[in-house]
């Protein structure tokens, strides 16, 4: 015997009133996409619940994949069994053994019988199935209050479903239900995590990266591509916009006093990000700023830098501790990539001292020296857009080698 279905429970969707149907549909699409590499599996939606038919796909691996899909509160591998009491008993026994392989521990049976045509009532079902399990195992006992395993049996019209395990899902909302945002992706530890949290609230994500050759090298760019690919695990295919930033950065370095260099550079980045967002239909910007973490992220800095845009800036990490961010980065698989030691555009030309309390007046004053419009426009014109898909594809130039 083998689990042949997985039951999906929604997170938060109950709150969404009239939109519920649309959200469900989106989640179904997202699931189909997430299970792309399990071609036999099918996602079914009936009577307000969602099922995955495994059709022979390995339950463990499908479950692993489901843990990355937002909008799922929890899910349970289940056995779909014909309406025949002997088969139901056997299946329940198998499921208990699967959940407690050493045959020691406690269980209880919870039967539900929405199909009133089925001859055995639920109380009797509890008793019959429980007895069958006790008779055929040695070390198991019943505990109806705190069982190690709850054997849920649902007798429905079409079949009976048996479940023993409940696996926690990723929570959040199905991606692409909340509008499009642009993530400022540097390649450090924070920004991919910020992207992850934004995705968790159901956004559609695109990313922007500032590249300053020859001061930042190809590997730094590759790293950002690889990080984006990790994010596609949660958000599906996405666009990555690479901004050539060398000219602007050099100009800032020449014209702006050391202490304000970082502040002005950030203001430029934000302006360019806003322009890129508008061009791509995004209506918000996400970044990995955390309050007070570094000089550019003090409240004064944020206040000064934020002046240049009206677009909502989402800062999922704003109140998080660095260690907590690192933990998430490790969990979602971006940490190992993020710590690869390549320079990004924030660390080159780093002045010896950066103003931790910059103000808007001075920032505006120093920027008068620079032709802001020109740099923003030029950056957008030369922007390179890369489509990142979950399945890493072989580069064109290598194709004939493989």
């Amino acid at each position: 015997m083998k689990y042949n279905h997985i039951l999906i429970r929604y997170a938060e969707l109950a709150l969404k009133g009239k939109n519920r149907k649309e959200f469900e549909k989106k989640l179904q699409d997202n699931l189909k996409f997430a299970l792309y590499s399990f071609p036999e599996s099918k996602v079914q939606r009936t009577f307000g619940r969602m099922f995955i038919e495994l059709n022979g796909e390995e339950e463990n691996r499908v479950s692993e994949r489901l843990k990355d899909v937002f909008g799922i509160h929890s899910f349970s591998p289940s056995l779909k069994i014909d309406l025949n009491q002997d088969d139901i008993n056997e299946a329940a026994l198998w499921a208990v053994r699967d959940a407690l392989p050493n045959e020691s521990g406690t269980f209880k049976v919870t039967a539900k019988r929405p199909n009133k045509a089925y001859p055995i009532r639920s109380q009797q079902l509890n008793y019959d199935i429980g007895s069958h399990i006790l008779r055929n195992t040695s070390g198991l006992t019943v505990d109806v209050h705190n069982p190690d395993v709850e054997v849920k049996v649902e007798v429905r019209q079409e079949a009976a479903y048996i479940m023993c395990k409940t696996i926690k899902g990723a929570g959040g909302l199905p991606i692409r239900t909340a509008g499009k945002v642009l993530l400022m992706l540097s390649g450090g530890i924070d920004s991919p995590v910020a992207g992850y949290f934004a995705l968790k609230r159901g956004v559609e994500l695109e990313a922007i990266h500032f590249h300053s050759p020859p001061f930042t090298n190809e590997r730094a760019k590759q790293k950002v591509i690889d990080l984006s690919r990790v994010l596609t695990k949660f958000g599906g295919s996405m666009k990555l916009h690479i901004i050539p930033f060398t000219d602007a950065q050099q100009a800032i370095h020449q014209k702006v006093p050391d202490k304000y260099e970082m502040t002005i550079m950030r203001r430029f980045m934000l302006r360019i990000a806003e322009a890129a967002a508008k061009k791509n239909g995004a209506i918000g910007i996400v970044n990995g700023e955390s309050l007070g973490q570094v000089a550019s992220q003090t409240l004064d800095s944020m206040y000064t830098i934020n002046e240049v845009t009206n677009m909502p800036i989402i800062r999922p990490l704003v109140t998080m501790d660095k260690l907590d961010v690192i933990k998430v980065a490790k969990d979602i698989g971006t940490y190992d990539l993020s710590i690869l030691p390549y320079e990004d555009c924030c660390t080159i030309f780093l002045p010896p001292q950066t103003k931790t309390k910059p103000n808007r007046e001075k920032a505006n004053l120093y920027e008068k020296e620079l032709n802001i419009e020109l740099y923003v426009q030029d950056a957008i014109e030369r922007m390179e857009t890369i489509k990142i898909t979950p399945n890493s594809e072989v580069d064109k130039e290598f194709e004939d080698l493989f």
């Binding site: 390995e58 463990n60 392989p101 050493n102 590997r219 590759q222 580069d395 290598f398 080698l401 493989f402």
Partner: protein, 381 residues
């Protein structure tokens, strides 16, 4: 030419050699170099790893490139035993392992490890129960060959893997060098922690292999050096060999899907024909890999049969290539309980996807006449 020695090595696919040449001449940068040439090599290597992982149905970070089967077996066996020796010093393997495993175990014995060599039955297999019975509280590694290289017997990897799920502290290594592309092995489903394969057994080039190390499992490297292959296998990466291997992996998996059945048919047919020959006995068990057939010509030195067939442009081998230069009886056949007459006269045929029924017929013809002639010469006295 009829080449029936594919378990010794296979002929590399033409496309694989082309890939090697192109990669070696165009992407010669060191993957660790910072400049674009190095970057290109690194990128190529990473993509090779990703593709290889896809073909093997594992994660890229679980794929480690090695120099081949011997190195893979050595890293897997010595690397895990030495790293976990504080946890226990008992290891389990079989008495029909390839020399690269066997010798590694013997070396570990001299370092103070205790090794249980499970004995195979007359069919060249062990049972899951034998493994279960051998497990002790201080067992840290079980290493089993999947398909034996001399007789083609298939060991119950799935059963052993399932058994070992009850012992989370025992690692499970599978020597899959002979089995790859011929007898399917599912790393995750069969609960394998480490698995060795070698490129030149599936039409890649010599000097390349893959060691699969499940995510979370650690080994102690055998060599000291740089951080290549996450420190487990230092040394500048053999990028052209790796890329060629990944190509061979794809091509042979495709060929395997198409041709394994016909290979098995051919194997069975030759077995049937040779079984009827006077003085020839079949050593391979009935349940075996589709590409190996082992038999003995009683009373005739196997080297002589190999030579006589070679004169007719037919290539087979005596036992395994790695021990064929010693004229001792085959340890594997002895382990299966065959007497000296049989275990010192064995011939191994090993096939690949491209071998045809026509070749099989020509072989049987040539073989029967060779056996007849040689028997006459030998029995005259």
């Amino acid at each position: 030419m009829i080449y029936f020695d594919n378990s010794a090595t296979t002929k590399p696919y033409k496309e694989v050699v082309e890939t090697y040449i192109k990669t070696a001449s165009e992407y010669f940068g060191n993957p660790s170099s910072l400049h674009p040439l190095g970057k290109a090599s690194e990128r190529l290597l990473n993509q090779a790893r990703e593709l290889g992982a896809t073909y093997l149905n594992v994660l890229p970070k679980e794929v480690y490139f090695t120099s081949g089967g011997t190195e893979g077996n050595n890293i897997a066996i010595k690397g895990t035993a030495r790293l976990h020796k504080s946890r226990g010093r008992h290891l389990i393997t079989t008495n029909i392992e390839h020399p690269s495993s066997l010798e590694a175990f013997q070396q570990l014995e001299s370092e103070g490890f205790e090794v249980t060599y499970l004995e195979v039955d007359e069919n060249g297999v062990i049972t899951t129960n034998q493994v279960a019975a051998a497990i002790k509280s201080n067992t840290i590694l079980v290493s089993i060959i999947h398909v034996n290289n001399e007789v083609g017997s298939i060991l119950p990897i799935n059963g052993i893997g399932q058994l070992l799920t009850n012992y989370p502290k025992i690692l499970f290594h599978v020597d899959h060098v002979q089995g790859f592309g011929k007898v399917p092995l599912r790393f995750y489903e069969d609960k394998v922690d480490l698995c060795t394969i070698s490129a030149h057994k599936f039409h890649g080039l010599k000097g390349n292999g893959i060691l699969y190390i499940r995510d979370g499992v650690r080994v102690e490297p055998l060599m000291s050096g740089g951080k290549q292959e996450r420190g487990n296998r230092p040394g500048t990466e053999n990028v052209p060999g790796v890329v060629a291997m990944i190509k061979a992996l794809r091509l042979s998996l495709q060929a395997s899907k198409k041709n394994v059945e016909s290979m098995e048919k051919m194997n069975r047919w030759i077995e049937k024909e040779c079984f009827d020959l006077d003085g020839v006995v079949i050593n391979s068990p009935t349940m075996r890999a589709p590409h190996i057939l082992n038999m003995s010509v009683i009373g005739v030195k196997p080297e002589v049969v190999v030579q006589a067939l070679a004169e007719k442009d037919i290539y087979v081998s005596t036992k395994s290539a790695c021990s064929s230069k010693q004229s001792e009886p085959s340890k594997v056949l002895e382990a299966m309980g065959f007497d000296n007459d049989r275990s010192s006269t064995s011939i191994r045929l090993s096939f690949t996807y491209e071998n045809t029924m026509e070749e099989a017929m020509l072989f049987v013809q040539a073989f029967s006449s060779t056996v007849e002639t040689l028997k006459k010469v030998v029995e005259k006295k």
